[in-house]
Symmetry: none
Subunit: 177 residues, 2 copies
């Protein structure tokens, strides 16, 4: 495997840490930047073959970050990974040269698969099995619930779902697969 220097740009430090650690086990050599300034500094002294960027880096824009990465190197494989996904930003990101656009939550396998797709055009077959929609939803609910400090009513409002329904979903155990 060739060198895989990966830069993760996301303002969520805990998320970065976990992602970084996991990807290191997968053979990536990762660095983290919590904002665009930090990323710029790292770019001065490093060349990255891969990058994962969040759309919202604090109050900064991941699209701007993408532009910077692209300017620094046309070789970098840029992956957008965000909880604030929209079609408009996806379109923009791809135009800017991002190679893929995933929404949180996403399995690490999916991230790696996205990076590997088209690499030397050896097509990666789709995984045998992916998380079920139920599983994805459960993780998502947990994440938003955390954002709302465990407030069920607020979470339900934010998600546009009925509080009763959210309660019931949370009461259930996560589906395995």
């Amino acid at each position: 495997m060739t060198e895989r220097h990966l830069l993760i740009i996301d303002d969520d430090e805990a998320f970065c840490d976990i992602l970084s650690r996991t990807l290191k086990r997968r053979g990536f050599d990762t660095l983290i930047a919590l904002n665009i300034g930090a990323a710029r500094d790292l770019l001065r002294n490093n060349a990255f073959s891969h990058a994962i960027v969040d759309l919202r880096i604090g109050d900064e824009s991941g699209l701007e970050m993408t532009r910077i990465l692209r300017t620094a190197s046309r070789e970098t494989r840029i992956l957008i990974l965000t909880g604030y996904a929209s079609i408009a930003t996806a379109v923009e990101a791809i135009k800017l040269g991002a190679m893929h656009y995933l929404t949180k939550p996403a399995a690490v396998d999916e991230i790696v698969a996205a990076f590997d797709s088209n690499e030397g055009d050896a097509q990666v077959p789709p995984p045998e099995t992916s998380p079920s929609p139920k599983r994805l939803e459960w993780e998502y609910l947990q994440r938003v619930l955390l954002e709302n400090h465990g407030n069920i009513s607020a979470t339900a409002r934010q998600l546009g779902m009925h509080r009763r329904t959210l309660q019931r979903k949370l009461a259930k155990k996560p589906v395995r697969h």
Copy 2:
């Protein structure tokens, strides 16, 4: 104004007619194709500077149509316009060379603006609100479906859900928020 030859590919004839008439008033010289075959025929004898393509042309794929258009001419400004919008297909379409991706219903002004807009000077802010679980699921289904090249049975297996259920979910239009 330079010549604006526009090809509309959509299986909804009424929609095509209205759109065509409106855009003619805006100075476009439009032709309509209700399916890929018809579009192919028109491409044999015409060169188009612009194209609007629906993602679901009957049971055919707008992505496939985009590929064909791109092959026919690298100059054509291709706009995807669909009621079944998803991030996965948007990413794919832009990679294939579409210049923009709008969701139905879209104002004619938006369409024209999209055609006229030049390179990504667009400032797209990420959304404030989180997507509803339904929306997230829709996006996910579309993504996996694309991975499986549109094979519904395979997608259902991969996701561990019933094929019938997947069919039904796909048949529905995506929820807005």
